[in-house]
């Protein structure tokens, strides 16, 4: 590695979102021609740090230097100043779906313009063909970006960045949608660019990749650095897990109300989530248990939960119950998109969970039944609002989520499926929602929770099923350790 001046220097970087301090004074350096892996649990601050580096989400304070550009961060946008020295490939491809592959690749590039500033389509097409060939991508430059398979989209996003000739490139979970051969090509290109002096900041859940391609590792935990610039050769999986998790012993107080002798309430048999799912999934939910579906984003856990809830059809396989499907209470993953109707009040939103339950034979809503049911559920979930008529769009995130929970309980469900149950919810409401889920299990419901937060899973679930690349790769039961959970979620058996 070069001993010359680092190509990236970050000093005392802080970032706060509302009441959450995501980065608490972080220092970070990258040398030229280095592949530097950034590791940490979900929520440790990795994406926030690299977003601060690329200017996508400006840091609140601290100093950032990339090549010769130096920035004093103050919360204001500085992305234009560093645009020419850094490229940021985000977890979700940011392509222009309605433009062609060629147009996406060259959208900001001066190299395809003639001296009048007009774009030469011939130049774009030829340039794109060359790149696609180099990367062994079997797609035409004229294809629309929106039509590509997820793997190609991700690769395209990466190619776009690598083509730009910038000295620093951030790759955030670049292999989530890639197949083995595509990964191989990516690593080859990374290695060759490294030789010519380009540096990479590499974030990935796949620890095996880190060992394959990275030179140094920095570990973040709770917004702070716990290990800086450690050579990858000096590390092993166990050490990394310890660093990521911290040394506190997490003995969770988990109650197990599961009735494992009873017939399953809901059964998924030979489920293939999509045509490319490798192995069928079998899954059961029993009364009284809280089972979590865990795994990396995009690995299929959410899809499986949606299939269980009947919100999505599987490519193959079936969902059955104990003599007919059970009543299912469903909390969707994004409450803003599909959890509540912002302009309607708390009462009306909750009522949506069971309009047929609330109405008489002719279909007219029974006001008194509605009032008592809403009052009951509001009490159970502890929604705080000025009245049941207040528009849910005006409530805090935690209370909005409670309304969604209440809506899911109207039909007195037997199975409760909650996706990201406490995403964007304050600590107090989080605890209340956990209590609610435990109560449901205690009352004999089968509870399925899908979450990205290891703490949350650890605190709630008696059983954890790991879903990775659309298959069930493992299961943890009983008194499992947090360590095991994290490692499984990182793709290490």
């Amino acid at each position: 590695m070069d001993m010359t001046r680092p190509i990236v220097e970050m000093r005392e970087i802080t970032k706060t979102f509302g009441s959450t301090r995501a980065l608490k004074g972080v220092d970070f350096t990258v040398a030229p021609g280095e592949v530097h892996a950034l590791l940490g649990r979900n929520g440790a601050g990795k994406s926030t740090l690299v977003s601060a580096l690329s200017g996508f989400t400006p840091a609140d304070s601290g100093m950032i230097r990339i090549a010769n550009v130096e920035i004093e961060a103050n919360g204001r946008d500085y992305s234009s100043a560093i645009r020419d020295v850094i490229a940021h490939v985000q977890q979700k491809p940011q392509l222009f779906d309605l433009l062609t592959v060629a147009e996406n690749l060259f959208v900001e590039s001066g190299s395809v313009r003639n001296r009048f500033g007009l774009v030469s389509h011939r130049a774009m097409h030829d340039g794109a063909s060359r790149l696609l060939q180099e990367w062994k991508m079997n797609i035409k430059p004229e294809s629309l970006a929106g039509e590509l398979k997820p793997g190609s989209r991700q690769l395209l996003e990466i190619v776009k960045a690598l083509r730009r000739g910038v000295p620093v490139i951030i790759l955030d979970e670049p292999t989530a949608a890639l197949g083995a051969s595509e990964k191989h090509i990516l690593f080859e290109h990374v290695k060759s660019l490294k030789q010519s002096g380009v540096s990479f900041v590499y974030i990935s859940h796949h620890l095996d990749e880190v060992f394959e391609v990275a030179d140094n590792v920095t570990v973040l935990r709770d917004g702070q650095i716990v290990a800086a610039r450690r050579p990858v050769a000096d590390l092993d999986v166990q050490t990394l897990a310890n660093l990521m998790m911290g040394s506190k012993t997490t003995r969770s107080v988990r109650f197990d109300h599961g009735d494992y002798n009873a017939r399953p309430l809901l059964k998924a048999t030979d489920i293939l989530i999509s045509p490319t799912s490798p192995v069928p999934i079998n899954f059961e939910v029993r009364p009284g248990e809280i089972v979590a579906l865990a795994g990396p984003v995009g690995g299929g856990k959410e899809n499986l939960a949606m299939i269980l809830a009947g919100q999505q059809k599987p490519f193959r396989g079936e969902i059955t119950g104990n003599g007919g499907l059970p009543r299912i209470g469903f909390v969707p993953t994004d409450r803003h998109a599909s959890g509540y109707v912002g302009m309607l009040g708390v009462r009306e939103n909750i009522g949506l969970g069971g309009l047929d339950v609330l109405s008489g034979d002719l279909g007219f809503i029974d006001a008194s039944h509605e009032t008592s049911l809403v009052r009951d559920l509001v009490g159970k979930t502890d929604v705080i609002a000025s009245s049941v008529e207040q528009a849910v769009g005006q409530l805090s995130g935690g209370n909005q989520q409670k309304v969604v929970f209440a809506r899911a309980l109207v039909r007195d469900p037997q199975v409760f499926i909650a996706l990201s149950p406490t995403r964007g919810v304050d600590v107090g409401a989080k605890e209340q929602l956990y209590g609610l889920l435990r109560d449901l299990a205690a009352r004999g419901l089968g509870v399925v929770v899908v979450s990205d937060e290891e703490d949350e899973i650890n605190v709630l679930a008696n059983r954890v099923v790991i879903i990775f690349d659309e298959r069930a790769t493992g299961e943890l039961t009983g008194d499992y350790r947090m360590e095991d959970l994290i490692l499984r979620m990182e793709g290490v058996a």
């Binding site: 912002g342 969970g353 279909g363 009052r375 705080i384 609002a385 000025s386």
Partner: protein, 345 residues
């Protein structure tokens, strides 16, 4: 402390009564009634004949057809879509009915079905067109603006085809009854309009169908996640809209005692105007029948006042347009202040 006070069920803590009332006022659709009242007062001074029983009935009769069409349109607007074909249905449905009723010599098919069957044909045709609209939007996935626009033009042409380009006179006593008869001094058409407004208003407010409509308009994905059959609801909204437009067409034909080839032309503009003035949001999820009625009445009163004040007919259209813009601005401002949730007008 503040959290305690905000907990629900505490009767001693209410938000300022005045602002609560104000919000309810706006939410229920009463926004335009003060304006209407103002106009009525102005009208009473400007034109002495304005506040007579006969004139009021006249206004109501004039707006019945527009009123039914607007209520129909409201079904579709509430779920965040549009239906331009309603105008075409107002013309086509009665025309098709008419040719089944009158003898061949008068331009009909010669089947000469009994009068009440003609009504069934008119409403049935309207309903089928609505179902077709729903099909194009849901199954084929067309943008409702384009599909209903196409239907509109198609139906305009259809009227000419089935009638051979000539209006058909005196289709039947049943039509005349609905369109021009009077019961205890009140025109049947007005009674039909008011009864429909009442029925639809009650359904939107108190029936699960209405609740589901508002939910879909407010957040379609949330409605779907809650278990509402969104596709079926969208379909039904288009069907109800068309049925009401068909009924409006029947009333109009009855009033004129003929199915005119140009029947209904231009009504869709007024219907949109009345709906928006009445507080129906073009983005969906917002609007009441109380408001729609106020919008319809406003248009009717303005037209009437301008006529009574003997404003030259050239000015009537422009003035109505000006009023529509002003009223839409007022409604939008009122909506924004009350809901706190921004929507398109």
């Amino acid at each position: 402390m503040q959290q305690e006070a905000a907990r629900m069920g505490r009767d001693d803590v209410k938000e300022s009564r005045l602002s609560g009332l104000g919000n309810a006022f706006l939410a229920q659709g009463f926004t335009m009634y003060p304006v209407l009242l103002l106009l009525v007062v102005v009208g009473a001074f400007v034109a002495p004949r304005f506040l007579t029983y006969a004139n009021i009935i006249n206004i109501l009769e004039q707006v019945s057809v527009l009123g039914l069409t607007t209520i129909g349109l409201t079904f579709v607007l509430l779920i965040g879509r549009v239906d331009l074909s309603l105008e075409g249905i107002v013309g086509f449905a009665p025309m098709l009915a008419a040719i089944t009723l009158v003898p061949a010599a008068a331009g009909g098919l010669g089947v000469q079905l009994p009068g009440w069957v003609g009504l069934v044909v008119a409403l049935g045709t309207a309903g089928l067109i609505g179902a077709f609209n729903g099909f194009l939007v849901i199954r084929v996935g067309l943008n409702p603006f384009i599909s209903t626009l196409g239907l509109l033009v198609l139906l305009r042409g259809g009227v000419l085809i089935v009638s051979n380009g000539r209006s058909i006179y005196s289709p039947g006593a049943e039509f005349v009854f609905l369109g021009s008869a009077k019961i205890v001094g009140l025109p049947v058409s007005v009674l039909v309009f008011l009864a429909t407004a009442l029925a639809v208003g009650v359904v939107l407010q108190y029936h699960r169908y209405g609740r589901a409509l508002y939910a879909i308009g407010g957040n379609e994905e949330a409605a779907r996640a809650a278990g509402i059959n969104v596709d079926r609801m969208i379909w039904s909204a288009f069907v109800f809209a068309s049925l009401l437009a068909g009924l409006a067409g029947v009333l109009l034909t009855g009033r004129l005692d003929s199915a005119v080839t140009t029947q209904g032309q231009g009504i869709i503009f007024s219907a949109f105007a009345a709906a928006v003035i009445g507080g129906v949001s073009l983005g969906g999820g917002r609007g009441t029948i109380v408001g729609v009625v106020s919008g319809v009445l406003l248009i009717g009163v303005i037209n009437n006042l301008l006529t009574l004040a003997q404003v030259p007919s050239f000015y009537v259209q422009a003035s109505t347009g000006a009023v529509i813009v002003i009223a839409a601005i007022l409604t939008t401002l009122a909506n924004r202040r009350s809901g706190g949730v921004r929507t398109r007008t």
